[in-house]
Subunit: 282 residues, 4 copies
């Protein structure tokens, strides 16, 4: 597997979209040396955005975590999360009543900020649920899996309301060796059991990229050929970026391992324009 130096790739573009986990950080925190990458981007006047399947917190809180770890350049304006798309959907389409959610209070906080009336699934009473007009899957924590997953199946049987998945990832790494089931995995199970069609937000869906693209256009007008998506996962970052019509760079610092990258690309037919060791510039 031949790789290209990330610096050589990055300097050809005017805007970079980065996936977060496996690209900028991993289970041990911010990638060592990634600050050099951002330093270069600022100096070279290359704009950048974090495009992430995450609905566990608001962009403000996601940004705060980067800043805490010393990457002050990543402010809330530069973060596009699948949770933002779900929130926009709910704001536009749920005009009355309340929104039941699976997740932590922190994950619901962002919904409340845009004026939605929220209710944790733990607090839902199935005998008095006429007022609930949507269900949203935000985070895999903050509820009792056994009791509350059964509750949502029955809620959807009682109320024909839209079910929104704010993060389609099925699992996420919790250490260098272990993963955890993500809320997207839970949502898929409930969708299969109920037979309903859920409304899903997250890469590789084009809506994420368009949201980021529209954001980037406010700073400067750039064509799609001047944007590069940088990600560690073929089926989300690279497939989604390709489909949106922008160039894509696969980095080997996360989900896709050096030893199996070529075979995965061949098996899936998802072909990045570049392959780089990582997004860290030396």
């Amino acid at each position: 597997m031949e790789t290209t130096d990330f610096f050589e790739v990055a300097k050809r573009y005017k805007v970079l979209f980065f996936d977060a986990y496996g690209v900028l950080k991993n289970s041990r925190g911010i990638l060592e040396g990634i600050d050099r990458t951002f330093k270069f981007l600022l100096e070279a006047d290359i704009d950048f955005y974090i495009v992430t399947n995450d609905a566990s917190r608001s962009p403000q809180r996601l940004a705060a975590a980067y800043i805490e770890q010393g990457l002050a350049v990543v402010d809330a304006n530069r973060i596009i999360s699948s949770g933002m798309l779900a929130t926009e959907y709910l704001r536009l389409k749920v005009k009355t009543g309340s929104v039941a959610y699976l997740g932590t209070e922190a994950s619901a906080h962002y919904l409340q900020e845009v004026g939605l009336d929220t209710l944790s699934i733990a607090d839902v009473n199935l005998d008095q649920c006429e007022d609930i007009n949507a269900l949203v899957f935000l985070d895999d924590e903050g509820f009792d899996w056994n009791r509350d997953i059964n509750k949502i199946v029955n809620l959807l049987r009682k109320r024909n309301i839209p079910a929104i998945v704010a993060n389609t990832d099925r699992s996420y790494p919790v250490s260098s060796k272990e993963v955890a089931v993500a809320i997207g995995g839970v949502a898929d199970m409930v969708e299969a059991i109920t037979g309903r069609r859920f409304i899903k937000f997250g890469k590789p869906d084009a809506q994420m990229f368009i949201f980021a693209y529209d954001h980037s256009q406010r700073a400067q007008e750039v064509g799609k050929e001047q944007i590069l998506m940088v990600g560690d996962t073929l089926t989300t970052d690279i497939l989604g970026g390709n489909k949106f019509g922008i160039d894509t760079a696969l980095v080997l610092s996360g989900n896709t391992l050096r030893e199996s990258a070529a075979e995965q690309i061949h098996a899936t037919g998802i072909i990045p324009d570049y392959i780089c060791e990582s997004a860290v510039i030396r």
Copy 2:
């Protein structure tokens, strides 16, 4: 929807296979009058078996529940459960080490009876799991969903062992209005997340019907054209019975409602030979 009298149908066959839930019993217990059906079958010398997707207990304990409710005719010999198939698989294919399970102690009891060394998923230590040679999904109770579903995902990442689903049903009724997620639904989620191919037992799979067929042949030799499958669910009882080459009767006392039966048959192309109100004989 025209229906045929169950008595008129039943008397044409030498062996009847019955699904349990929705046919012989429902959330309130044994169906009123179903004892008359069994009285008739005994008098007419028509053999019968219960063919059920259930791995929560041994056939002995399943039978005990019928006897307790006054249906003494249903003894353990007449019960064919998907749990029996899973147990047979484990007995044949797991020659050393232990079997980790999701379920109650009662569900594992049956495995222990055939000599398998079992270990509840709650007691599995991921740092010392070299001895675990199979994982089996038995029942949706008896474990902590959040902690233990994550544990099995990581167990399957550490150990490339067969995963067996002893009941493929995705949900089951807990009252006339509410359902619960069944262990088959949980297994589907873990299968999708891990990308592995699980080994699954339960209707509509032919193995259930063959097991019942072989059982029935010990009592008397009958051809497939003399056997009728009676069930309330198109996608398990009727599809499986049809594929096995026996006649099938759909009853409207459970999953399939009178008002939507015709449309469901049309939409799925799963066509019972008869439709009856219920298996109760007047």
Copy 3:
């Protein structure tokens, strides 16, 4: 099933997106009276676009067909087709070599207009295919199904190139009683056989709606809450419109029949904001 008068619905919006087949036309041609609808829209200064899964012809030729049938108001500027998205993808991502296609010459004409070098699958030589850098599914006509579907399976085995589906519909009506397999159905089969992930364009995918939205913004700036999607199919028009965050109206003049609409909405959980007999204004 209670319906709302389309006129009462339409007048609340500033922009209308229409599906074509089943909404504006059917197997017998343009819907009788649909010209009154467009007359009203022009008078009321309500903008409108046709958003259609169609890659068989260029927008110019699609528009010509409306004009021929007396609906002169539908010009090429008002047509957003999935074929346009596929063409844009190919223009951006295929920088060298040629594009093999399944479809008629007319369907490939549009690709040629944007400068792509095209090659009908019938003319592909598998022993000299190094120059082919993409494969696109355009139309179900124009090739020999047996010979050429086998050819594309082998082309994808020889060349790891992106495969683009320019219309995701699986079937389309050819008369009031019969349907035909669409190119999206053929593409699904090839995707399953090869195990590759294809790049697919068409409703319910958000990219179609964003393309239409961006178009509409050139004429006037409108918010999403001022746009209505009008369609006859829950799984494409209504699901896609809902997800994009605009209001949706289901019409009963096509795929979704009056007698089964309520059940389909319940079974799928895809909920239109309005249900109307048709888009024809009296």
Copy 4:
């Protein structure tokens, strides 16, 4: 990848089940030296059966092809094909009317022999199809793909009849480098388009193994622990054999390549008891 000598494996069993393509033969004909394997089996009094997903011809004609190529030991009695199961289903369940089929005349010949009234899809008249009571997918040749695949979609819309897939394989090799779409791939497409549930025969389904098992019991009574399945494909031969409770040996002479076998076993979790270079005995 360490392999075990096939001779060392085979001699431990009383009955061997062989897959055909990739195990006994390939695109160039019978595997060189495979006659030595059968010579050994006969001498050692080890029984054997060919268990194959094939519905293109009757067991008699399949056997004739082996005999022609010098493997006279493979007679019709030793062949278990998915086509036999489909034929048995049709014989048991289609009591009146005719069976429409996709395939060659040779593939339908076997149905005719058991007394079924058959009709090639090419000869079906959709305006007079009331007498057609089943549809069966036999072979990928013998019909016009474009015209006749569209015809079966419309036949299933007009007639709610069972659709039987007599071979679930999606593709098959036609040379060392090229494959062809198999009738199972065509059937999957029609199933997806019509939304119906088809009745499917072929490995890994247990019914194939039970049919072979019952056959083997006529010659001598053997337990499952004395039977070995030998195959080149994880998802059919090995998964099916494992599930049926017999031991399994993967050979590297066909679908599964030496260089990717370990990774495929890990990715799928389908674990053979043995891995052998081939079934040829030196």
